[in-house]
């Protein structure tokens, strides 16, 4: 079957994979981060095709709107930012090719050999209220534990960013040297 939906699906998949390849091969790390934006957005589109609308929205909200900004900040925060060598050089070609081929083999074997439950007729229904009900009843404990996990990440992020590896006071944080 081919329709506009299928064509858009293949375009989305091509965009996701193409942008991911660009992330790996672009020499400038900022360009890589921008290419990552398109990859993340493509994944959000693929979630829509999986009838996971909530996941798609969350992907845009958190990965495109949050994680990517964090990655860009990490680039800008590097104290070697003015160093031209900040661009990622290609190294260890053979080792990387070996590992990637192995990973590709494992992943493709898993993808082919796993019996995925396939629905005969795909119905695109909103999932948010279903997720909400399950989170409030059956998966209540993971929901609350997620809060504790976020708390740990919050405190950990703040501690790590303090001077002297967490022992100093936040007020003593130094301004970057020009």
């Amino acid at each position: 079957m081919t329709g506009p939906a299928d064509i858009i699906f293949y375009l989305l998949a091509a965009m996701t994979v193409g942008a991911a390849i660009l992330v790996a091969i672009l020499p400038n790390i900022v360009y890589s981060a921008i290419a990552l934006l398109f990859s993340f957005a493509g994944v959000a589109g693929l979630y829509v095709y999986l009838s996971a609308d909530f996941l798609a929205a969350t992907q845009v909200l958190i990965y495109v709107g949050g994680i990517l900004i964090l990655i860009l900040f990490a680039v800008f925060l590097s104290n070697r930012i003015s160093d031209v060598k900040i661009s990622n050089p290609s190294r260890f070609h053979w080792q990387a090719a070996f590992i990637c081929l192995g990973l590709f083999g494992i992943l493709s074997y898993t993808a082919v050999s796993t019996a995925f439950p396939v629905k005969a007729v795909l119905s695109y229904q909103p999932t948010t209220s279903e997720i909400g009900e399950l989170l409030m009843t059956r998966y209540l404990l993971p929901f609350e534990v997620a809060s504790v996990l976020l708390l740990a990440a919050l405190i950990g992020a703040a501690m790590l960013s303090r001077p002297d590896g967490g022992r100093g006071r936040p007020a003593e944080m130094e301004e970057p040297k020009r």
Partner: protein, 131 residues
């Protein structure tokens, strides 16, 4: 559902096309007479100095990290917001616990001064419980 996301796609495509078209038309119509002054980066009327590739303050990163954590919190609260009228008081209490745990973290960071942007704490007298 797919139809609604098709609307999103149309919006994205229209946005991309509009921006490209506007840049193209402006390139087509503009008179080109560049001078060094015109080509310099606009910095609110000031004369720009130095490279724009400077190291940012580490505080931006802390704020971004904290932002992401609350971003995830809000994303987890969306499904709750959809059903909480149906589930009643129990769901309210559950979400309340969820938020309070994270609020405790925020209060801690606030008290410890991790959120202070201006470094006023240095000259201030020692805080309570600290020499």
């Amino acid at each position: 559902m797919l139809t609604e996301f098709a609307t999103v796609l149309v919006f994205i495509v229209l946005g991309a096309v509009t921006v490209t078209l506007m840049l193209f038309v402006s390139r087509l119509l503009q008179p080109r007479n560049p001078t060094p002054v015109k080509l310099s980066t606009y910095e609110c009327g000031e004369v720009p100095f130095g490279s724009s590739w400077v190291q940012f303050n580490i505080r931006f990163y802390v704020i971004a990290l904290i932002f992401i954590i609350f971003d995830v919190e809000v994303a987890l609260l969306y499904p709750w917001a959809v059903v909480f009228q149906k589930l009643g008081l129990l769901a309210f209490v559950e979400a309340f616990i969820f938020i309070v745990i994270l609020l405790a973290g925020l209060a801690y960071l606030w008290k410890e001064g991790d959120l202070d942007w201006v470094r006023t704490m240095q000259e201030a007298p020692a805080r309570k419980g600290e020499k």
